[in-house]
């Protein structure tokens, strides 16, 4: 049954991707990309990767699509038809694809429990992490403890992206409250938005602190919290949003999150353990692990929230600027 669902979803993905190649209307292309992202999130659920699906739905279908739409508002939605070279790219793609197919011939069987990938390192994560780390979600255990250095890098990447976007687009100024913006005429939208924004923030907090027990964690929580404010900015206008959360605070928050994460690691250094070894944070190593994971997830959540919102502000500030001109 799972195979059939898998196959149907993959087929739908193929159709979506195929359409993206040929459609010239970029608005449609971006919408199709959102669909593509959602469909792949479904595949991830089907393949048991619930955390990944959560992230993909929040990021790919959420943030990425919003940013792409924001760009389209500035650059125009029509792709110009061109007699562009198509032979060479096609050749490159065929060669690369052929190489990949050649590589699949010796790949282990799909889903076979005896695959080498499931034999060597992974069993320890599955069997021992609930005792060693003391939390049931193995993805969180591996992410935040065994491979915490990767996640530190990931936080730095998000921070780097925020720095990049800030240096390219700059942040909107705060004192623009005079400009009429937001969806003034959409009364229903405003009322409903007011109702659900607190709910979204609440949900973000739930995801943040429940990530040890179920799917979720700092990254997803940060994105969801940012989404709540993005919704606010869309409905009530960017000036209002910058009034609620000023851009300068966001910049500082993004930096603070990285510092919290790395700082947790440095605390372990001072307690004469290795970098990011949380076992020394409390008397009991398992409790120490738990404290460490909560601390670094907080760091991730803060950085991701601030960075994503910063990036959105930067794009929205550009659109606003264009409207004034």
């Amino acid at each position: 049954m799972a195979e059939i669902i898998d196959l149907v979803l993959l087929g739908m993905l193929a159709i979506t991707a195929f359409n993206i190649i040929f459609i010239k209307d970029l608005f449609t292309v971006v919408m199709l990309f959102g669909i593509y992202s959602f469909l792949s999130a479904l595949i991830f659920v089907n393949l048991d990767a619930v955390d990944v699906a959560f992230t993909e739905a929040a990021v790919g279908a959420g943030i990425s699509t919003v940013l792409m739409l924001g760009t389209l508002a500035l650059t125009g939605r029509k792709e110009k038809a061109s007699s562009h070279k198509t032979i060479l790219p096609l050749l490159v793609v065929c060669v690369t694809g052929a190489a990949l197919i050649y590589g699949t011939l010796d790949m282990p069987l799909f889903g076979d429990p005896d695959n080498p990938a499931h034999q060597h390192v992974a069993p320890r994560y599955i069997e021992d992490s609930p005792q060693e780390i003391g939390i049931p979600n193995m993805v969180t255990s591996v992410l935040a403890s065994y491979r915490a250095f990767d996640t530190l890098g990931e936080t730095a990447v998000v921070f780097a992206a925020a720095i990049g976007v800030l240096s390219l687009l700059g942040l909107p100024k705060r004192d623009r409250a005079t400009i009429q913006s937001g969806l003034k005429s959409h009364l229903v939208l405003r009322v409903v938005a007011k109702m659900i924004i607190p709910l979204i923030v609440l949900f973000a907090l739930y995801v943040q602190f429940h990530g040890d027990y179920g799917p979720g964690g700092g990254f997803q929580a940060g994105v969801i919290a940012a989404a709540a404010l993005i919704l606010y900015a869309l409905v009530f206008g960017l000036p209002m949003a910058t009034h609620v959360v000023p851009p300068r605070v966001l910049k500082a928050l993004a930096a603070l999150g990285v510092l919290i994460y790395a700082g947790t690691g440095v605390v372990s250094l001072f307690l004469s353990a290795n970098f990011l070894d949380y076992s020394v944070l409390a008397e009991d190593p398992v409790a120490g692990q738990h404290i460490g994971i909560i601390a670094i997830e907080l760091g991730v959540g803060i950085t991701v929230f601030a960075a994503m919102l910063c990036i959105f502000y930067a794009f929205a500030g550009q659109t606003e600027r264009k409207n004034i001109q």
Binding site: F44, M138, D150
Partner: protein, 118 residues
């Protein structure tokens, strides 16, 4: 036949990757290039998640009565990779916005005409 059943997943994922890759290198519009890049990466993520699947396994969250779990390690790697992907997308799109402002176009061949290629 069993060979196909055991590998079809990888093959379709390869097809998807290549469609994304084609959009990246063939598209003339910069926004579309970024969309292509995202499709390419998302498809690679699917390959990783396929590696992690164990038949009859369930999501890697410890619960009573479940003995077989899918492999959590590829999930962790892909969580990181998704974040890297969205970071790149954001910077890329910001560049597109600036290019539009500087050149007045986001079609690659149009601004190539405007600058002497080095």
């Amino acid at each position: 036949m069993s060979f196909i059943v055991d590998h079809y997943n990888y093959w379709i994922v390869v097809l998807l990757m290549m469609m994304g890759f084609y959009v990246v290198i063939a598209a003339n519009n910069l926004v579309k290039k970024i969309v292509g890049l995202n499709i390419f990466q998302t498809s690679v993520f699917m390959m990783y998640i396929s590696i992690g699947k164990v038949n009859g396994g369930s999501a890697p969250i410890a619960a009573e009565g479940i003995t077989t779990y899918s492999n959590p390690l590829p999930h962790v790697l892909i969580l990181t990779a998704i974040v890297v992907g969205v970071a790149t997308t954001a910077v890329g799109l910001a560049l597109v916005v600036r290019i539009k402002r500087a050149y007045g176009t986001v079609e690659e061949n149009e601004f190539e005409d405007k600058e002497d290629l080095i």
